[in-house]
Symmetry: C2
Subunit: 212 residues, 2 copies
């Protein structure tokens, strides 16, 4: 079945939003923890993370247009730090709840029943219930003028992971860490590993890294 | 277990690359099809896609630094069009093979045993074996100076999906379409849906959209 631009334009708006949000494939979904300059915490779910580079270790994310003010972005710019916390099967419903539009006085940590965790003198709150926690230092903000969104790039400066999920070659077993993925606006999925594949070369057959 | 910036700097380089590539969570992974101005096809796997907006429908991706020349980016800039093709369980090994560094004369379609499909007068080749195929029109290129990568943003102008995967509300069931996800540099995963959750509101409990 085929849709082109003119079909999308004729589609009911929210239907098109669901469809377009599904088309990119399964997404990285995680909770971003921040605090404002007064120390009040904020927690919000995002599904627009992407790897930018390993050296230095950089991760990007997209913010929707302002106004309305985006508290998470405001806090990142004001304090320079944020956390990215993977979502697991035990907390995905609470994580989803953080997308509700709460009043500024309410912390989404409290509203969703998740716990703020401070450690290693990192200024932003981690999510205690998350198995993979990243402390991020803000690096740059880029306006995407085509639709008034904003890209924020940060450097990974703190990593907390379960020791038994780290392979000798550096691969982190996210499935063992119970990290979930999402699709569309509201669908959550756990995963089943098919394989890890060898580095591809032109004249060599790919082999499984798991059967060695 | 905890790593900080100084630990990463001391880590063996390829180990750090594996780890950092794992930290973002499960990723959108797909094959990008292009052709050069002579009509020679190119196919390459990427895992750095992200949703930028639904209206207009925009999708972003990151290219690693040049040089070496990135054929896919060159073709996108020269022709203005590309395709994004979801990877399914039947073709993930072939998809992975497209990451090998082939000579310019060789099409990765042939090398990996995948078929170029032209339709609807769209100028770039789709992957016949893919169940979800997107035709993309190049919109803008942004240099990310912090590590010399490049962000390419395109508009989704053609959508090909299996009819039985589209829900009434616009949600596309990627699991039914057999789309896979990846983690790290080389791990592929299929998914098991946990739930679809209702739109979150401050004073309302989240419900499942699947149990109605």
């Amino acid at each position: 079945m085929n849709f082109k631009t003119s079909d999308l334009e004729k589609m009911e708006k929210q239907t098109a939003v669901h469809l377009i949000n599904s088309l990119g494939g399964f997404k990285s979904v995680a909770l971003v923890g921040t605090s404002n300059v007064q120390g009040n915490t904020n927690l919000s779910i995002f599904s627009s993370f992407f790897h930018i580079g390993a050296n230095p270790p950089l991760i990007g994310m997209i913010f929707r247009p302002s106004p309305p003010e985006r508290d998470t972005m405001r806090n990142i710019l004001d304090t320079g730090f944020y956390t990215i916390n993977h979502i697991n099967e035990q907390i995905y419903q609470q994580a989803h709840q953080t997308s509700a539009r709460y009043n500024k006085e309410i912390s989404e940590f409290d509203a969703a029943g998740l716990s703020a965790e401070y450690k290693n003198n990192f200024p932003a709150p981690f999510v205690l219930e998350s198995n993979v926690q990243l402390g991020i230092k803000f690096k740059e903000k880029t306006a995407i003028s085509i639709n008034n969104t904003t890209m924020i790039i940060g450097e990974i400066v703190q990593i907390f992971i379960p020791e038994d999920c780290l392979s000798e070659d550096g691969f982190l077993d996210l499935e063992k860490a119970n990290t979930v993925t999402c699709s569309g606006l509201d669908s959550y999925h756990k995963t089943m590993q098919l394989d890890r594949l060898s580095y591809a070369k032109p004249d060599k057959e790919i082999t499984s890294l798991l059967k060695s």
